[in-house]
């Protein structure tokens, strides 16, 4: 076991990444932060709308879209990547709807069938054409965030901006933030009160498909860094943590962003310490933060119950309604 878990060296784990190796870990931290923040912002709405598992589905099914776009255009450019992801994301949504609306198969099974099929096609394509596209099946699962600093830097007007996937991720994060600011009212109403949304002529179907489209773009831009399955964690963990802490949607956004920063920081530390995949380590860090918050809420609940034992006892023993 001792060779599995190296000793914790404060200097190597906590100081060096942010001083000596800042040019390396700085980019990794920023990439992790931007990916988690963008996913977390979209994820808030998935959690509110009880569509967390659509996030699961879309994060898997963008893979064939990505691979086919790369194969068709013979490049790894941003536009084909986003287009492929969009088509795949919308296709998943349509498939899920057409299975559970038209047959007796329930929505959860429909999601399970649709995304596994698309993901299987994606993995197969990756294995078949692995010599033509620069993706391998391992990267699909847990990404290659450690390779972000090795990418060529993008320069704009003589200023070096950063590695290409980071620049893309920042642009997506800003885009998501702008979209949320512009459509805040629509999203809020459509997520909480469909009847009111209809009365106000907000089409819930359009909101649904719009959210799915944004989700696929966010997922695909985070995909390369953290892979398909860890994307789900980044979609759900920040929002879940936030919804334990607040009732207000506006506040949820800020908590999600804070969660993203902490989990990216923890991830770098954990990854350096244990010498494991940094993307996975970021998710473990995020899960750790969630666990701490969860325990905190449990403890406060317990305290409150102890201070008012009679009241809480009365509510617990309230008889269920007799039908």
């Amino acid at each position: 076991m001792s060779e599995l878990i190296p000793s914790f060296d404060w200097q190597r784990v906590m100081i060096d990444p942010w001083t000596l190796d800042l040019s390396l870990y700085g980019w990794i931290f920023l990439m992790g932060f931007c990916a988690t923040a963008a996913c977390g912002l979209v994820g808030n709405y998935l959690i509110l709308r009880r569509m967390a598992l659509m996030g699961d589905a879309v994060s898997h099914s963008v893979l064939p879209g990505l691979v086919i776009a790369f194969l068709l255009t013979d490049s790894r450019g941003t536009t084909p990547m986003f287009l492929g992801a969009l088509v795949a994301g919308i296709l998943t949504t349509v498939l899920v709807e057409s299975i559970h609306r038209r047959t007796r198969v329930k929505q959860d099974a429909a999601i399970g069938i649709a995304f596994t099929t698309l993901f299987a096609i994606g993995v197969l394509l990756v294995s078949l054409f692995s010599n033509q596209i620069d993706l391998d099946a391992e990267c699909v699962l847990y990404g290659e965030i450690a390779f972000v600093p090795l990418e060529p830097l993008v320069t704009l007007g003589g200023v070096e901006l950063g590695p290409i996937s980071l620049v893309r991720m920042v642009a997506v994060l800003l885009g998501v933030a702008v979209l949320i600011l512009v459509f805040y009212k629509e999203l809020l109403i459509a997520s909480f009160d469909e009847a009111l949304a209809k009365a106000m002529r907000i089409n819930p179907t359009w909101v649904h498909y719009g959210l799915m489209a944004v989700l696929s773009v966010v997922v695909v831009s985070a995909f390369e860094a953290v892979g398909a399955i860890l994307v789900i964690a980044m979609l759900i963990l920040p929002g879940a943590t936030a919804s334990l802490l607040t009732d207000r949607l506006g506040v949820m956004h800020f908590i999600a962003i804070g969660h993203a920063a902490i989990s990216a920081w923890l991830g770098v530390g954990l990854g350096v310490w244990l010498d494991c995949s940094i993307g996975a380590a970021m998710v473990v860090g995020g899960a750790f933060v969630f666990g701490v918050v969860w325990m905190g809420t449990l403890l406060t609940k317990l305290k409150r119950q102890r201070s008012k034992p009679q009241q809480s006892g009365a509510t617990v023993s309230a008889p269920a309604s007799v039908s």
């Binding site: 967390a52 047959t103 099974a109 299987a120 993995v123 197969l124 391998d136 860890l230 449990l298």
Partner: protein, 484 residues
């Protein structure tokens, strides 16, 4: 998987160095990588069944298809499809820890580790749902991804270890039936046997708790225990399927064959049978193509096989298939349309005092506010089905048509009266509802309606409600005229 890249590299090397390298490749994850054979050779090898690892692969995929199809049926009918997904991801840290136990791919250690991790995952989901306001979907996704991340961390740490026999560990991600060994098959056989036995023994309990929780409670079946038992067997089935299908896609082997079977039958035992057959079919297809395709990951191929079966059931299922449903809807839409034409003809006929001379196309068109062409098309449709005859510009009921028309009008007016009298709905609000129900009221319901309305003869708008005599013999006035 790295093996994919390595495989490409290996093949190019093989061309230069030749047989010198084959010996070192003998331990590769996939048997089919051993020699660069053509796919026709592979086909020959597949059907000769001489390869021991091929036999293992086949037996393994049959066993996993069987157990996944069987247990998947229950998670599909219990609406727990994504619990299977979460469970399959949550076992990954257990797989890694089981490997660390004695630094080798020991099936039993991995099996135990994975089961513990899986059960820890599902209990964490229940704890999250109980103690926080997070909904089931969020809790499932959260546990799934967090456990998977821990597993990924452990796996990447294991890859960096200098010691241990790590080959085949990557098969847990996307599956490789060729990596199955004799001890794996033994374990799969035991687990599948236990699963089949348990399903047979507790069939009644599983059936009741899946479909009627209330009845299960009343008959004293401990639903909680059935649920936990099912979870345990499910976790075991997932773990034995992992090596062949992979963590990511094992949920598809649970859901897809069972969902296909669900579309084809209404009876649980038949569904179990079909789902197992589909599972075996998908498993063997995946193993076959993985073998012929020389080291393609097995999991995706099996899943695509299962998805093709599902697509076939989705489109061509005789009762719940989309095509059958579309055909039935078309049939019922055209029947409704014919009956509406009949009703319009009846109304014109009634307004004319049941004159025996038939209804002009013009009268029908005016009644329905349509063009003459449309009225003609409608009447021809009736003629085609033997409900009316057209003579120049006049439409005559056949006896059968007159009877159906009278029935429809009776249904409509009875229902209107019923809604006004019994449900206290204003008379001017009942027409729309009656328009829909008139086509589907059966004879027994009509008898009951008549009885409850004391065989009333007038609807809320003052129009007569045709009785049995009007339907089977014809309106009195018409008879009188016909006698003359």
């Amino acid at each position: 998987m790295k093996t994919v890249r390595q495989q490409v590299l290996r093949r190019s090397l093989l061309g230069i160095i030749g047989f010198a390298l084959t010996a070192s490749l003998a331990s590769a994850a996939s048997v089919s990588e051993v020699a660069p054979t053509e796919w026709t050779d592979q086909l020959g090898r597949f059907f000769s069944f001489r390869d021991p690892s091929l036999r293992y692969a086949l037996v393994g995929s049959i066993l996993l298809g069987l157990s996944c199809g069987l247990l998947g049926s229950f998670i599909v009918v219990r609406r727990m499809a994504l619990v299977g997904d979460a469970l399959s991801h949550a076992v990954l840290p257990g797989v890694a820890l089981g490997f660390l136990w004695n630094m080798t791919k020991d099936p039993v250690a991995i099996f135990i580790g994975a089961i513990i991790a899986g059960l820890a995952g599902t209990s964490m989901v229940s704890a999250l749902i109980k103690t926080t306001r997070l909904k089931a979907d969020t809790a499932l996704g959260l546990v799934l991804a967090s456990f998977f991340a821990v597993g990924m961390c452990l796996l990447s740490m294991i890859q960096n270890l200098p010691t241990g026999n790590k080959s085949g560990l990557n098969a847990f991600l996307f599956g490789q039936v060729a990596a199955l060994g004799a001890d794996d098959i033994q374990l799969m056989g035991i687990v599948t046997g236990i699963a089949v036995l348990l399903v047979v023994l507790f069939y009644k309990e599983l059936l009741t708790t899946s479909f009627d929780a209330g009845f299960a409670r009343v008959s004293g079946i401990p639903a909680e225990w059935v649920h936990h038992g099912l979870m345990l067997v499910l976790a075991a089935a997932i773990v034995i399927a992992l090596q062949a299908v992979g963590v990511v896609l094992v949920s598809a082997m649970l859901i897809t064959p069972a969902a296909a079977a669900y579309l084809l039958t209404d009876r649980l035992h038949r569904m179990l049978m079909l789902a197992s057959i589909f599972g075996v079919l998908a498993g063997v297809t995946g193993a076959f193509f993985s073998f012929v395709g020389r080291g393609l990951p097995t999991g995706p191929l099996m899943v695509i096989g299962a998805s093709i079966v599902f697509a076939a059931a989705y489109f061509f299922g005789p009762r719940h298939g989309v095509l059958a449903r579309w055909w039935r809807q078309r049939q019922s839409a055209s029947r409704t349309e014919r009956e509406n034409t009949l009703k319009a003809l009846y109304h014109v006929w009634e307004n004319d005092g049941y004159r025996d001379v038939g209804v002009t196309l013009r009268g029908l068109a005016e009644r329905r506010r349509e063009t003459l062409d449309e009225a003609l098309r409608r009447s021809e449709e009736l003629q085609h089905h033997g409900l009316a005859t057209i003579n120049r510009d006049t439409v005559y009921f056949t006896p059968e048509g007159r009877q159906r028309a009278t029935e429809i009008v009776r249904n409509h007016r009875l229902w209107e009266l019923y809604l006004t009298n019994t449900a206290n709905i204003a008379p001017d609000h009942v027409h729309e509802d009656a328009e829909k129900i008139e086509h589907i009221l059966g004879e027994s319901v009509v008898r009951e309606l008549e009885r409850r309305l004391n065989y009333a003869t007038e609807d809320p708008h003052g129009k007569p409600i045709p009785g049995p005599r009007d339907i089977h013999v014809g309106p009195v006035v018409e008879l009188g005229r016909g006698d003359k």
